[in-house]
């Protein structure tokens, strides 16, 4: 390839990337844009790319709706509880699978856990509803916490198993010889070394629980509502309050973005590189 051809390929790549960026960022921009419009401007044709009379009314309206704020709180409680449980159980199980695969049940058990993630959730949603109904748990926080835990655990267990597998056993052995019990070794040596794994698992589990719609729609809805259930309520009916829908959307994407920005630096791997040998 000569210089000219290299340049053409380069510009072509940049062009494709630009299309990709527009394709992915435009909906976010449009949501943001719409959330500051009045209802009158929302329905303007042609649409305006910058609100003519920017207003925070839609946000005020969302905060004024008890249903909406309560749903966001419920989403927090459910997603955070489910994430904490997933990370704790996932780490312990992942550690067992990484260190004592045979005593922990072998490849078959760990693969079975992973397989939970493989079938479509929609196939399980009705049976799960009937089971929770049997125990009078529908329309409670606990039903969604347990359900999200079930669907988060495979990911948590497998990711943590791989991260723990990368920690040399010799570091733990050195710690035992240095006078530490297995539990303190786990807390002082092993766990700090899998911090990037813990962070990744936390983010992935939390985002799944935060955004989930299907199970929430089936299992809860009257006493307990999560925010994804509010969208249909705003958008279905005689008037579609698109500006309020977008305002709510902007509000609920802020926490994941903030979380990701805070934790991003911990996601960098490589802390454990160069541990052993020179």
């Amino acid at each position: 390839m000569n210089q000219k051809q290299i340049k053409i390929v380069k510009y072509l790549a940049l062009f494709l990337l630009a299309i990709f960026v527009i394709f992915t960022l435009f909906p976010i921009y449009w949501t943001f844009n719409t959330s500051f419009k009045t209802m009158g401007e929302v329905n303007n044709i042609p649409p305006t790319f910058i609100p003519k009379n920017p207003t925070v009314r839609p946000y005020v309206a969302i905060f004024g709706k008890k249903m909406a704020t309560k749903a966001i709180m419920s989403s927090f409680i459910i997603s955070v509880s489910s994430t904490i449980l997933s990370v704790i159980i996932g780490s312990l199980a992942g550690y067992a699978f990484a260190r004592w695969p045979n005593r922990a049940g072998g490849d078959n058990l760990s693969f079975w856990i992973l397989s939970i993630r493989m079938f479509p959730p929609v196939a399980a949603v009705l049976p799960i509803f009937f089971i929770f109904n049997l125990f009078a748990l529908t329309d409670t926080y606990i039903s969604l916490i347990i359900t999200y835990l079930i669907f988060n655990l495979p990911l948590a267990v497998w990711l943590m198993m791989m991260f723990f597998g990368d920690v040399p056993v010799e570091l733990e052995q050195a710690s035992y010889v240095d006078g530490y019990t297995p539990l303190r070794t786990f807390l002082k040596v092993t766990l700090p070394l899998v911090k990037p794994g813990l962070v990744s698992v936390t983010i992935l589990c939390w985002i799944f629980s935060w955004n989930e719609f299907l199970f929430a729609y089936v299992l809860v809805g009257s006493r307990v509502k999560t925010f994804p259930l509010i969208f249909p309520a705003l958008a279905v009916g005689s008037t579609n309050y698109w500006n309020q829908v977008c305002a709510l959307a902007v509000l609920v994407i802020i926490p994941p973005i903030v979380l990701f920005i805070i934790l991003r630096k911990y996601m960098v791997r490589g802390l454990s590189l160069g541990v052993v040998k020179g």
């Binding site: 052995q173 530490y180 019990t181 040596v189 541990v275």
Partner: protein, 368 residues
């Protein structure tokens, strides 16, 4: 005061027998070097000592107390690992302070700091204390690992191939330092290596292992001069000892040894050896001659052979001479500045005093 004792210790890893009925006892305060090729069971011996591995059979005693079932964290034994095993998320200081913090409240932070800094200065790593292990060189990592082992005062130090992954210059430097470090010299230390020079240099006593078996334990002189069998003689010394399969000929002026491979080559014996072979009832044996006892200059009681030079390697302080006596290839050590060349005919002199005789089946030293 610490005496370590192994009583009939056997260890199986699945079907593999890593240790076979090993028994030994250290002397209080000695520097014991375990020497053997890989797979000899050296590291397994250390891991059983510190409790990381449980023996399949047998017991381990420390000062007469049976510690076989004690977990590693309740034995006061410290160990440096072959791979250093530094904690990557802690600074060098925290790595070294780690063993001192194992029991909450045992030492105040001031005491810990003082002890760590003292040891760091001794090992010349005090400028590194605030850094992370990943920022240290190989030799420095090894010093940090040693420092972590030495901050507390254990009953026994275990050092697993501490110099194996360092380059030659640093290896020699650190080996010298081991001689100077008082802690290691005063406290019972078990040191594992596959390098016989390290073993001869450092060991008060040397324990030779191979294939999970303890072959011999003794002072460097004992190991070198009176190896119990051919394997021990082969492990100690570079180039390795020459082995010539011989048959005993009892004709003429008393017994002599004739090479099986090259019947024209007959090794004569001195009077003491002759009287031994008059009693010897077998026909075959393995004759061992160390390269340093084969040369081009006549010595007292030397046995003279006609040889042809094959390869000469001048290595600075010594010259390795490979020559052929008929079909027999023999390695000798001579002056590195000797003017010899390929295919040159020479007289080879073998010091008869320094010959070893091994049973050709059991490989045991016949003269012990």
């Amino acid at each position: 005061m610490a005496v370590l004792e192994f009583k009939n210790v056997t260890k199986h890893y699945g079907k593999v027998e890593a240790l076979k009925n090993v028994s030994f006892e250290t002397i209080d305060g000695e520097f014991l070097v375990i020497l053997g090729p890989s797979g000899a069971g050296k590291t397994t011996t250390l891991k059983i000592t510190c409790g990381l591995v449980n023996p399949t059979e047998g017991s381990v005693f420390l000062d007469g107390q049976d510690i076989t079932k004690f977990p590693p964290y309740s034995r006061n034994i410290s160990m440096t690992f072959e791979t250093y095993s530094l904690y990557p998320h802690m600074t060098v200081f925290d790595n070294m302070a780690y063993p001192l913090r194992s029991k909450k409240g045992e030492f105040t932070e001031d005491v810990i700091k003082e002890r760590v800094v003292t040891i760091a200065k001794m090992l010349h790593i005090d400028p590194l204390l605030d850094r992370f292990p990943s920022e240290a060189s190989g030799g420095q990592k090894q010093r940090i690992a040693l420092g972590r082992t030495m901050v507390r005062k254990p009953e026994i130090y275990l050092l697993d191939e501490p110099l194996a992954h360092l380059d030659a210059k640093i290896r020699v430097e650190l080996r010298e330092e081991f001689h100077k470090i008082e802690e290691l010299q005063k406290t019972t230390t078990v040191y594992v290596t596959h390098d016989y020079i390290e073993a001869l240099s450092l060991g008060d006593r040397i324990m030779i292992m191979n294939e999970g078996k303890l072959l011999q334990i003794g002072t460097p002189e004992e190991i070198f001069e009176r190896p119990v069998n051919y394997e021990v003689a082969r492990q100690v010394g570079q180039p390795a000892i020459n082995a010539v399969e011989c048959e005993v000929v009892k004709e003429g002026k008393g017994p002599a040894l004739r090479s099986v491979e090259e019947p024209d080559c007959v090794f004569s014996l001195n009077s003491e050896q002759q009287s031994f072979f008059k009693q010897y009832d077998k026909n075959r044996l393995l004759l061992g001659i160390r390269p340093k006892n084969i040369g081009l200059k006549p010595v007292k009681d030397a046995d003279e052979h006609d040889g042809i030079i094959d390869v000469f390697q001048p290595l600075g302080s010594e010259g390795v001479l490979t020559s052929n006596i008929g079909k027999l290839s023999i390695v000798g050590l001579i002056d590195p500045e000797a003017k010899v060349k390929h295919d040159q005919k020479v007289k080879l002199y073998v010091d008869t005093k320094a010959m070893y005789f091994f049973d050709n089946e059991t490989m045991k030293n016949l003269m012990l």
